[in-house]
Subunit: 363 residues, 2 copies
Amino acid sequence: MDKLVVLMYVVKCKFGEKVEKNLDLNERSLHLLKMLVERYIQDGQPVGSRALSKNTAIKLSPATIRNVMADLEDLGLIHSPHTSAGRVPTVSGYRFFIDSLLKVKPLELKEVSQLQTEFNEAENTSDVVNRASKVLSEVTKMAGVVTLPRREVLCLRHIEFLPLSNTRVLVIFVTNEQEVHNRIIHTSKKFTEAELIQAANYLNSVYSGRSLASVRESVFNELQQHQQQVNQGMIDAVNMAQMAFKQPPEEDYVLSGETNLMGFNELSDMGQLKNLFDAFSQKQGVIHLLDQCLVADGVQIFIGEESGYQAFDQCSLVTSSYSINDETVGVLGVIGPTRMAYEKVIPFVDVTAKLLGSALNPK
Amino acid sequence: MDKLVVLMYVVKCKFGEKVEKNLDLNERSLHLLKMLVERYIQDGQPVGSRALSKNTAIKLSPATIRNVMADLEDLGLIHSPHTSAGRVPTVSGYRFFIDSLLKVKPLELKEVSQLQTEFNEAENTSDVVNRASKVLSEVTKMAGVVTLPRREVLCLRHIEFLPLSNTRVLVIFVTNEQEVHNRIIHTSKKFTEAELIQAANYLNSVYSGRSLASVRESVFNELQQHQQQVNQGMIDAVNMAQMAFKQPPEEDYVLSGETNLMGFNELSDMGQLKNLFDAFSQKQGVIHLLDQCLVADGVQIFIGEESGYQAFDQCSLVTSSYSINDETVGVLGVIGPTRMAYEKVIPFVDVTAKLLGSALNPK
DNA sequence: CGTTAGCACTCTTTTAGATAGAGTGCTAGT
DNA sequence: ACTAGCACTCTATCTAAAAGAGTGCTAACG
């Protein structure tokens, strides 16, 4: 194990203002809310005033607690399923809990190093990503998701062209030492095998070792400048490179442990569950959601409807972006019921993101 | 649309002997059984004697029908969930129904040609396979599965080596005109880039255009024969080829419409469903099951526990192998509840397999 | 002898009512 | 400001009863 990672939790605080505004939310109310949420996360049952009162840390009668709870309900932080049930946190309640009340405890060194070992043997990018996803799901017993690192920052190692039928050309390129990609382009004319080899040689000599993004840029500039250059072979090569790289990188993610979600009875409504799994297999909706986490640093959390994605209404998503060489290249996270052990999941997701980043870092 | 396909249903008949043995299974009983199964497949409710009696095609009193049903129950073909419910087909009942009673109706030409169009635009193998899987699930509203074609019969187009760190070498090879594969091998010594290029050139000149299976064989023979040959470069090349190809081809399949299975209430037990989906993501169990269908021609059916795979206990699997150039290379099928419309699914799976085969056929 | 009508019986499903339990809101008292 | 007490509401559980569906058996019929 080489690098240990500094833990830092940047949790977005949407409701920061609200704390100021509602002065009636005194120390005691907050503490009660915290107790209530923690209790609910533990048991999954609506928690009543009596239950809270029995809690050692609180020496108030149920009646008093009821008054406080009525206030919290007015503020929309908790909610009663029906008259004679206890209270349950609302989305706002969870939000407030996470942003202002939750004391996240960093992982122990031992746990971190154990996590680290999961990545040690991995050979290539997709292997690392798979392991990350698997670890996320296995540790949390929920679903783990990891987006593949953005291709932009990958480093071009080698490119090659093979002629297909007609004007189609198979482009194979290797990035990041050992990741093989391929795509098919349609050229303006039919090239011979020799021409293609020559073109590849040229591109390899000029662009090998540079990032895809910079290659794309250079290629574009070169086309602009040398529009009517003498060396047609070079133009052809650059042209083909542009076609190969201009296609938007297909975004994708790796999901593990989806089936864990079938165990939670808050997700046991078959219709909802079907929606969720449909979302998983269609992918684009989830990708869109994950992309939103790409911009922010640190851990980001979507609670229930906050994600704005119907299928995730009953779920929470705890994500963190991960970086290679200080450049953010992907997102990873955990998907589970809104009632999850945030205080454990948050630091875990954070650390895993850091570890994934350094595992992907070319030494 | 170029080729139309001859339909032929070779359905394995496990219970062929039983028909002979039980002489009491006269015409009438068989017809009644047929009615019962059809009715049950339609409604999903246990069917009673009265319901069958009302059926226009049968002019028997409920009492008589009850006697017959008692016989059928003794034979283990149908079964009563409890005293006052109707009867439901057992696995044996379904088996007998499918093997001996079912009149499968071929698809209409129109339907076949419409199916055909689904494959027309597909460019490469994985695209074709994906479409096949999607079609299977969308038409049947159940889950569709297609194994990737066995690599053995693929034709080697091009091979290339790239040096990695230490003695590791990245092998890229193209099969079947445009399918790109890659793997990493560990060589006995460190090769220079020039050596690797030379090795690739040699292999390309000798083996290009041959099937992977034959390449593997030749490579093996060559190593045996020329053990102490002068040309070390050639030995190295052949050696690397062997390492690249010896690894067993990773079998895989494409699954679509799994979520359709969440809609059936015979599969609505969350525990069972979880098992099923776990099986889908672990893959090997399903692959093993599908491999069993690779040997037989035509449509094969596993009903409920017949598959011998716990997770599929509540499901039936209707499969057919598919072939390229008369060589069987893969399996495709439909997964759904045992109560499915076999008379439609069977011909559909059959035709789809034929179409997939011809879509994959290099012209 | 095969078929049918009749009937008692069994089992599930539905409905209803009663009861217990949990928790609340309100009021009055400390 | 807090608490005790109490009436009230709603859910969950249990019981009993009734309805419905279907069977198995027996005896009668052509």
